[in-house]
């Protein structure tokens, strides 16, 4: 097995074009597990950690460009206010050691239905920036996940960044696991509310072959939320939203939980996150008034 460590993105893209079988390596928290378990024997590893540009982030016109190689620890520390939903998800990933190394680029590369950042990226309407020697393109998150552990990358492409709006909206992320830390999601849910344009993003993880948006639930909520009316939301609205989120799932029974539980739990998470986001909305309303 060859170990390749390009110093620049161009170099990396050239290698990837020449050797599409080379497996990119970011934090290695997925790749190394696969190698150790002998699930994968790549001809070459393409270590991306020497490319400084991938580990940077910037904000332009309210859009965050988050380098694929920024580890979770830095997202939590540096972007907690700017990308609160993503930071919430990042806090739930693995253990401190995993968060020190693991990256959003790696989460996207692995494209596990249980990856924690996916529901947030979907709900926030993120676009994935991918590059090859042929050029750069932006893939909307909902087009990125193509199957169980499959994504929209072509063999010669690398993920360079994720673009998503700096939080103007109200963001929540919640994940159910059977342990209080370092646990893979039994199911997860992300919600983003945009009161200024009556917009809603809602997405689920670990409850279908891919992470996915709960589009009907989004539409329902966008239409039904009393955006400009202060006060608590009616229970009936929350319940209906929960039902629609549960209805968007296609869960399975596995060692981590039953399909019925996943549906049930997502309905609960949907109601709760909606309540929290709405409360924040009310708070903001008060402080603006």
């Amino acid at each position: 097995m060859d170990f390749l460590r390009p110093a620049t993105l161009d170099e990396a893209l050239a290698v990837k074009a020449e050797r599409p079988g080379a497996v990119p390596l970011a934090g290695g928290t997925d790749v190394m597990v696969e190698l150790n378990f002998d699930h994968r024997r790549p001809e070459a590893l393409l270590d991306l950690t020497g490319i400084g540009a991938l580990a940077e982030w910037s904000i332009t016109d309210g859009q965050v460009v988050l380098g694929a190689g920024v580890p979770y620890t830095r997202i939590i520390a540096e972007l907690g206010d700017t990308l609160p939903g993503l930071a919430m998800a990042a806090r739930t990933v693995g253990s401190p050691q995993i968060r020190n190394r693991g990256t959003v680029g790696g989460n996207l590369g692995a494209a596990s239905p249980a990856g924690d950042t996916h529901p947030v990226l979907l709900a926030a309407g993120a676009r994935i920036e991918v590059a090859s020697v042929r050029g750069t393109r932006l893939v909307p998150a909902e087009e990125f996940y193509t199957g169980v552990k499959r994504n929209a990358l072509d063999p010669d492409e690398l993920i360079t960044a994720v673009r998503l709006p700096a939080a103007r909206g109200l963001e929540q992320f919640a994940k159910v696991g059977t342990r209080n830390a370092m646990v893979i999601a039994v199911c997860a849910f992300a919600l983003v509310l945009h009161p200024e344009r009556a917009g809603v993003g809602a997405a689920i993880g670990s409850a279908a072959p891919t992470p996915r948006r709960a589009s009907e639930a989004e539409r329902f909520l966008a239409a039904e939320l009393p955006w400009d009316t202060p006060g608590a939301l009616p229970d009936s609205l929350k319940r209906r939203f929960g039902e629609l989120v549960a209805g968007a799932t296609e869960p399975i029974d596995d060692v981590r939980g039953s399909a019925a539980y996943r549906r049930h739990a997502l309905a609960v998470l949907a109601r709760r996150t909606l309540t929290w986001a709405w409360n924040d909305h009310q708070e903001r309303g008060k402080s603006c008034a």
Binding site: S95, A174, V176, S258, V268, R272
Partner: protein
């Protein structure tokens, strides 16, 4: 008892907590575990395992594997020179499978190669033909004689009946009767250091084996039988052990590595990876337990009837002894006038089960403590009150007829537990880490209900049922560099529990010598017995103390520093008082040496809508007779409690049709620091007059009561029956 004079009293003797000799090395990552063993020119061994729980082997073709460059040996059952059977109680397990495989993961062939990767590739080139058979997977059906017979003599490994008084007559007059069927899932020891060792062929035709194990001499006995060698040709030295908890009592790499080393004439190292480790050692017996408790209206127990089924899996391992524990301790630490307990341990095609911390007492305790809560409910009593009313004490007669002849402070433990402060109520500033779900942000208080639960447990300490349970210790005293120094040699395995520290402390106390060196643990000295049954401090500690007393006799009036060139050197074999066999029909007999007791109070916050649990407090009171090393005692109680918490809410090897579904730490979950609360611990020291220093084994009791206490607390919070552990979110939400 000690006759130490003033000037002999050590600063780091019995009752103190000196630093462990291996402590800082372990913290710094410098400690050499058995997986770090290395030898010039060594080969790497690897094991081919059966993918099927039950199958007939129709053929094995090793040709392609042997042809792979770098491969030195590919061995099958045909290459086992001695008896191709081993086992702790019954030699029923093949070193390498012959015509049949009886569990998924059973070793079929072993390979030695010059690189671990080459060895793995060689495994892929071995072709094994299998005819898959219908596995036996249900323990009650196995007792009923249904399904294939897996071993000669049938599928019941052992049945232990216990009969005391006349339960049938007592049942007639019982005012309150509660019944229940309980289930315990298969727990794993989850030690962090996977099975590993290094076998080095010797010039005399023998082999030296360095290995992480719990009992060198019982390994040796089984290895020589399989290799067909005399005992002196197979010498064992303990490698660095990364945890054990019972999972290293059975052989893993031992015979395989020796076979490969003798066959190739080269040192052979074997290390399992995490996944293989799940197939490479026995687990805790899953259990189904049917219970009936009858009592007076005031909650006083009249009788208990129980039928317990333990799934031993494919091979016997220590199932027989586990069955005896579950049966003899089946009614718990209570004074029960009439009892009928039957416990069966069976063969199935599930993974083999054997020793794990708590050893049969854990399964029984989940059932009898659940029953005590039901009884409290039925009588309108507080759960502590119903336990206190029935608490056994010194002088109580066990269901086996054995009269407990040392302190049994069950009521006192409960009293102390109840007196401990309760944690503050939930609320205040939002801190996700304090809530069920933790930083996963599943609740900000919604659905969260608090519950409190109590449990108390009992465990036999040391080996039981007339087992000749002894240890051998050699103590030498001499002047080195002008200073008196002692060396201690035993074959007792330090597995992380701190035995070497305690042995040093004993020597310091008995000989008044500060410098105490523990020699490498090996088979050049006599048997020390197993590091299990909470027995090593008792038995090997007892042996070291006895050797010290002989040294002191030899020393006479001299002070150690006046020895000059003289070396005092004493070796003793030390036994605890003998025990009796159980009557095979009535289960009567003084089968146990000593009983240990611990009690827990758990406080949980349960997210009742999501079924997630946060254990807020898990406090413990335990009698240890004598806290030989107070810090190590606390460590045992914390660790044991955490392991019990794990069984209560997350730890289970999930099996379907004999196949393990979660052989990794990704899905076999053990508690993290956010799952295990800080503990209040109350340690009692009521001396047992029969034991060295009055000590009582510490390691297992806290594992036993922790599980039922946590589940009782979850029941209190949710109102759910919860008759199975681990409790899963679905059990709480009913979805």
């Amino acid at each position: 008892m000690s006759t130490s004079t003033e000037n002999r009293v050590s600063q780091a003797g019995v009752g103190t907590s000196p630093q462990r000799p291996d402590g800082s090395m372990k913290v710094r990552g410098e400690f050499a575990y058995s997986s770090d063993l290395w030898h010039e020119d060594m080969l790497w061994g690897a094991t081919l395992r059966s993918p099927h729980p039950y199958a007939r082997i129709t053929g094995i073709d090793i040709g392609a594997a042997l042809a792979l460059p770098g491969v030195y040996a590919v061995l099958t059952h045909a290459d086992v020179p001695g008896v191709n059977r081993y086992g702790l109680e019954h030699a029923d397990q093949p070193v390498l499978a012959e015509d049949v495989v009886r569990y998924q993961g059973e070793p079929v062939a072993v390979v030695a190669a010059d690189h671990p990767e080459t060895a793995r590739r060689a495994l892929e080139r071995i072709t094994v033909g299998y005819t898959v058979l219908e596995p036996v997977t249900d323990s009650e059906a196995a007792v009923a004689g249904e399904g294939a017979q897996l071993h000669p003599g049938g599928n019941v490994v052992r049945h232990v009946p216990i009969r005391k008084g006349d339960p049938a007559a007592a049942a007639e007059g019982a005012e309150v009767v509660v019944t229940g069927t309980y289930e315990v899932g298969m727990q794993d020891q989850a030690f962090l250091g996977p099975e590993s060792g290094l076998a080095v062929p010797a010039e005399d035709g023998g082999v030296d084996l360095y290995v992480a194990t719990q009992w060198l001499h019982v390994d040796q006995r089984q290895i020589v039988a399989a290799l067909g060698l005399p005992e002196d040709k197979v010498r064992l030295t303990l490698g660095g052990v990364g945890g054990a908890f019972g999972g290293r009592e059975d052989l893993s790499i031992q015979v395989h590595a020796c076979l490969l080393a003798l066959h190739t004439g080269k040192p052979v190292k074997m290390v399992y990876n995490r996944e293989e480790s799940f197939y490479g050692h026995v687990h805790r017996h899953p259990a189904v337990l049917h219970y009936e408790h009858g009592a007076d209206r005031d909650g006083r127990l009249r009788y208990v009837r129980a039928r317990i089924f333990l799934d031993g899996g494919a091979y016997a391992s220590s199932t027989g002894a586990v069955v005896a524990n579950a049966a003899t301790l089946g009614v718990g630490p209570y004074d029960v006038p009439h009892a009928a307990v039957d416990c069966w341990g069976v063969y199935t095609n599930n993974p083999p089960c054997g020793a794990m911390r708590g050893f049969g007492a854990v399964q029984a305790a989940f059932a009898y403590e659940s029953q005590m809560d039901k009884l409290a409910d039925a009588c309108g009593l507080d759960p502590v009150e119903v336990r206190t009313r029935n608490a056994m004490a010194e002088g109580t007669s066990m269901p086996t007829g054995q009269v407990v002849d040392s302190p049994a402070p069950v009521a006192e433990l409960l009293r102390r537990l109840r007196a401990m402060p309760l944690p503050t109520e939930p609320g205040g500033e939002l801190d996700l880490r304090r809530l069920p779900g933790g930083v996963s942000n599943t609740t900000h208080g919604e659905g969260v209900v608090r519950g409190v639960g109590y449990a108390v447990g009992i465990k036999n300490i040391c080996f039981s049922e007339a087992f000749d349970d002894y240890s051998t210790a050699r103590v030498r005293l001499q002047v080195v560099g002008g200073e008196p120094a002692a060396t201690v040699h035993t074959a007792a395995c330090e597995v992380g529990q701190g035995l070497v520290t305690v042995l040093q402390q004993i020597v310091r106390t008995e000989l008044g010598v500060e410098r105490v060196t523990i020699e490498p643990t090996d088979t050049t000295i006599g048997n020390a017995g197993s590091t299990s049954a909470s027995r090593q401090t008792y038995v090997t500690g007892g042996a070291v103390r006895a050797a010290c007393l002989k040294v002191r006799d030899a020393l006479g009036a001299l002070s150690p520093s006046d020895l000059g060139d003289k070396v005092l050197d004493e070796t003793v074999e030390w036994r605890h008082r003998p025990t009796e066999e159980l009557d095979p029909v009535t289960g009567q007999g003084n089968a146990h040496v000593q009983y240990g007791f611990a009690a827990h109070r758990a406080v949980v916050d349960v997210d009742t809508e999501l079924g997630l649990v946060k254990v807020v407090a898990l406090d413990c009171a335990q009698d240890v007779g004598k806290a030989m090393n107070p810090q190590a005692v606390l460590g045992q109680i914390q660790g044991g409690s955490a392991q019990g918490l794990g069984l209560a809410v997350m730890e289970e090897i999930q099996i379907a049709g004999g196949v393990i579904r979660n052989p990794s730490f990704t899905d076999y979950l053990i508690p993290t620091v956010l799952d295990m609360p800080p503990m209040n611990i109350d340690v009692l020291e009521l001396a047992d007059p029969h034991a060295p220093y009055g000590l009582r084994g510490v390691g297992e009791p806290p594992t036993i009561s922790s599980t039922p206490a946590v589940v009782a607390a979850i029941r209190a919070a949710t109102g759910r029956a919860l008759d199975r552990v681990p409790v899963r979110p679905e059990h709480i939400t009913g979805t």
